[in-house]
């Protein structure tokens, strides 16, 4: 009965999109209800707000990015990763398939667009270093609102920060297929693109565990019934019902964390080391202080 | 009252000048254009600094002065009648009182020949009509001390004559300072006539026409005084000439 359900506010990283499949499905299929949760999904326009809001106890859970988590923790935000939504990087360096850039080396002296995310320079720097280039061998331009248009229109030769499940399909549909270079293949340690973070002080709350359980159910159900899930998903907002979202949906499913609560702390340590090497982190706090597997500990 | 000094960009208008308004009498102030009549009026009204105004009863002038400036200063967004009761609107009145005041104002407007324009906006009035509205506003104030700067200048001979009577009647027994350019007007209405002259300016006079105002300008005695007044004015004009 929803009346007795515990209220839970989840701030997404951005407007609802196929990345959020498990959350939407869990809500639509009633998995949250089943766990006695009344979950409200809030969609901000600025991906930087959700962690702040959780840290300020304005929301219970935020969808954020692993790389940002490291920085947030360093800046003193009382946040802890409690689960994973998308278990691979989505971020990638994209160029025109039939453009002049065939290999990363070809970027030398060219323009690379990015949309301020905070650590594009770090990613790109690592990828370039792999091929004997330095950051100042390329010209970085902030193209904010128009990643794919700027590369399609040839205003830049490549963009970093493009999501492989979206921008690639987007360019395909626009008739200008792109080629992606994947950070994890170019010297950047693999990381979780999308994670769930909660406030340090609230970790004992049982709602969080029930939330993760519901999300896991939803993920598996989605994997088992992809088309049903898609119909369910697109029905929630007419704006979502188009070719691009459908393709993105299919491109995203395999990347969903099949075991959302599970924590691979090696992955977090490695990435912390990487960020430190890039000069973005001053220290490497113990992973346990900012990432946990709530379901691992035995229930109190 | 006394003025320490009033200086406008370099020109000293008044210096240690004293000027007395006799209570309950009409004082008329004449003088060549630009000599300082309006400035003196403003000093008395407390609109320009530098004047020391002393009253016989020792009380201040607040709440006792009505001023009719050289410009009509009608508020363009208020109908004539509201402009007439402006003083009361500004000081605040009850709705009932205001209704009473409007009737009073309408009567006054009738007497200055504007009854049919009570509801018109000032923009719809002719120059003389605006001046009459301003006069009505001043009389409406019903103050013991009344300062008027050329209140009839935009009126034709007949209307002016009628309004002079009106003012003389309503303001009988008040302390009035009337700035005017018209010697006959001064002789007709004033008890004490001064000519402001020189730079720094001093009021010369007073001339004291006989008999109670309003007087008949045709009167011989007055004509004599008029000649004197004109002489005085000519001298004063000449003085101002050489001063500038």
């Amino acid at each position: 009965p929803a009346a007795a359900a515990d209220k839970l506010t989840v701030v997404l990283d951005w407007f609802v999109n196929p990345d959020h499949a498990p959350l939407v499905v869990a809500r639509e299929k009633g998995f949250f209800e089943g766990e006695g949760l009344d979950v409200e999904l809030v969609a901000p326009a600025d991906p930087n707000d959700p962690p702040k809001l959780v840290a300020a106890k304005q929301a219970d859970i935020a969808v954020s990015y692993q790389p940002q988590l490291h920085l947030q923790v360093q800046e003193g935000l009382p946040l802890v990763r409690i689960g994973t939504l998308v278990a691979t990087p989505l971020n990638s360096l994209v160029v025109l398939k039939d453009g002049p850039v065939k290999r990363i080396e070809d970027l030398k002296g060219r323009k690379v667009g990015f949309s301020v995310g905070g650590f594009e320079d770090a990613l790109l720097g690592a990828m370039l270093a792999r091929h004997g280039l330095k950051l100042d061998d390329v010209e970085l331009v902030n193209v904010n609102f128009s990643l794919s248009p700027s590369v399609i229109a040839g205003q830049v030769d490549g963009v970093i920060g493009a999501f492989r499940n979206f921008e690639l399909n987007q360019m395909d549909l626009a008739g200008h297929p792109g080629r992606a270079f994947y950070p994890e293949e170019e010297g950047v340690p693999a990381y979780d693109e999308l994670i769930y973070v909660a406030h340090k002080d609230g970790l004992a709350r049982p709602e969080l565990r029930r939330f993760l359980a519901a999300v896991e159910q939803a993920t598996l159900w989605t994997l088992n019934h992809p088309d049903e899930a898609w119909n369910l998903f697109k029905a929630t907002d007419k704006a979502l019902d188009d070719e691009l979202n459908h393709r993105a949906w299919n491109a995203t499913l395999p990347r969903l964390a099949h075991s959302p609560a599970a924590l691979d702390d090696g992955r977090y340590r490695r990435f912390a080391v990487f960020l430190k090497a890039q000069g973005l982190l001053k220290a490497e706090p113990p992973v346990a202080s900012y990432a946990v597997d709530l379901l691992a500990e035995k229930q109190p | 009252m006394g003025v320490r000094r009033l200086v406008y960009d370099g020109t000293v208008l008044f210096e240690n000048m004293r000027f007395r308004l006799e209570g309950a009498l009409w004082t008329c102030l004449l003088g060549p254009s630009g000599v300082g009549k309006t400035s003196l009026l403003r000093l008395i009204a407390g609109l320009a600094p530098g004047a020391l105004v002393v009253t016989d009863d020792g009380r201040g002038l607040e709440g006792r002065v009505a001023l009719m400036a050289q410009q009509d200063l009608l508020l363009p967004w208020l109908p004539v009648i509201e402009n007439v009761i402006l003083g009361y609107r500004l000081r605040g009145t009850t709705r009932a009182e205001r209704r009473r005041l409007r009737d009073q104002a309408r009567e006054l407007l009738a007497r200055v020949g504007l009854e049919r324009h009570a509801e018109a906006l000032p923009a719809a009035l002719s120059g003389g009509m605006r001046q009459r509205a301003a006069l009505a506003r001043t009389l409406m104030e019903d103050r013991p001390i009344v300062l008027m700067d050329e209140p009839f200048s935009a009126l034709d001979a007949i209307t002016r004559h009628r309004l002079q009577e009106l003012a003389a009647g309503l303001l009988a027994g008040r302390t009035v300072l009337l700035v005017t350019h018209n010697p006959l007007e001064a002789l007709r209405l004033g008890h004490r006539l001064y000519v402001l002259s020189g730079r720094p300016a001093t009021p010369r006079g007073p001339l004291l026409p006989k008999g109670p105002p309003p007087r008949d300008p045709a009167d011989q005695a007055l004509l004599a005084l008029e000649a004197e007044l004109l002489r005085e004015l000519t001298r004063s004009a000449a003085l101002l000439e050489e001063a500038s």
Binding site: A45, D46, P149, A239, L244 | E62, L73, R89, L90
Partner: protein, 254 residues
């Protein structure tokens, strides 16, 4: 030409110019689609767009109401007291320099995710032109009127409310015109504070998904709202300050 036909002709002319621009500059549709494509998208998605438009419209209306109110009030306050002028004015000026992403978390923290925080953001954008214009009007009252009022023993308050403010209404009107013009963008920016509805949201979303036609369809609707609002305020303002003579012959006709 009838005053009803007129705007239509103008609109047609502008659409035509738009089409020509797109063709002449050979703009790719993912940067600026022609009116044809946009109108098609509008027709296809109209109920989606209208649903979001309704939200934005209410934000706009609320924004301009509260904005004008707050703008006028602060102008009067500043005109009335030099302390207000000294302490409030700097804050008002600075408020115009605050980017939305710096304010958003604060607003959400204080006002939550609902309408309130969005409208607050819109108000911050809308009020200033009103304050500035009205304040200038309050400053420029004909000195003669003030002096007359002083001689009439009017309190400073009476002078303010019965002379300064009415005399400054034309200035207020011109402030309101600007407010009307910036209200739509104010509402859109307000929606960035965090919302899942409204044209601002729709456009941002469509833009990120390269549904450029949809984005410009929404923008077209927003533009129409802006124009309508501006015309309404313009008419209204003029009606209020009828006593203020206007001297551009063609202003009197539609």
């Amino acid at each position: 030409m009838s005053r009803f036909l007129r705007p239509l002709v103008t609109a047609a002319g502008i659409l035509l110019a738009w089409e020509l621009l797109v063709r002449a500059a050979g703009l790719p549709p993912f940067i600026l689609p022609g009116p044809g494509r946009v109108l098609t998208a509008l027709a296809a998605q109209h109920e989606l767009i209208l649903r979001h438009a309704a939200v934005t419209l209410s934000e706009i209306v609320l924004g301009i109401l509260l904005g004008s109110l707050f703008g006028a009030a602060s102008a009067v306050l500043i005109a009335a007291s030099r302390h207000a002028r000294r302490w409030l004015m700097p804050l008002l000026v600075v408020s115009q320099a605050l980017p939305v992403f710096a304010l958003a978390p604060l607003l959400v923290l204080w006002l939550g995710y609902g309408m309130a925080s969005k409208v607050a953001m819109a108000v911050i954008i809308i009020f200033f032109p009103v304050t500035a214009a009205f304040l200038d009007g309050l400053r420029r009252t004909e000195p003669g009127w003030i002096e007359l009022a002083r001689v009439m023993d009017a309190s400073a308050f009476a002078i303010l409310t019965r002379i300064r403010i009415p005399a400054a209404l034309p200035a207020l009107a011109s402030g309101l015109r600007v407010a009307a013009a910036v209200a739509p963008i104010g509402a859109v920016v307000g929606e960035w504070v965090g919302s899942s509805a409204g044209l601002g949201y729709l456009m941002l979303h469509a833009n990120a998904r390269m549904q450029v036609d949809l984005m410009f369809a929404a923008l077209l609707v927003l533009a129409v709202m802006a124009l309508a609002l501006w015309l309404a305020v313009d008419r209204g303002a003029r009606a209020v300050v009828r006593w203020q003579p206007e001297t551009l012959a063609h202003d009197h006709q539609g």
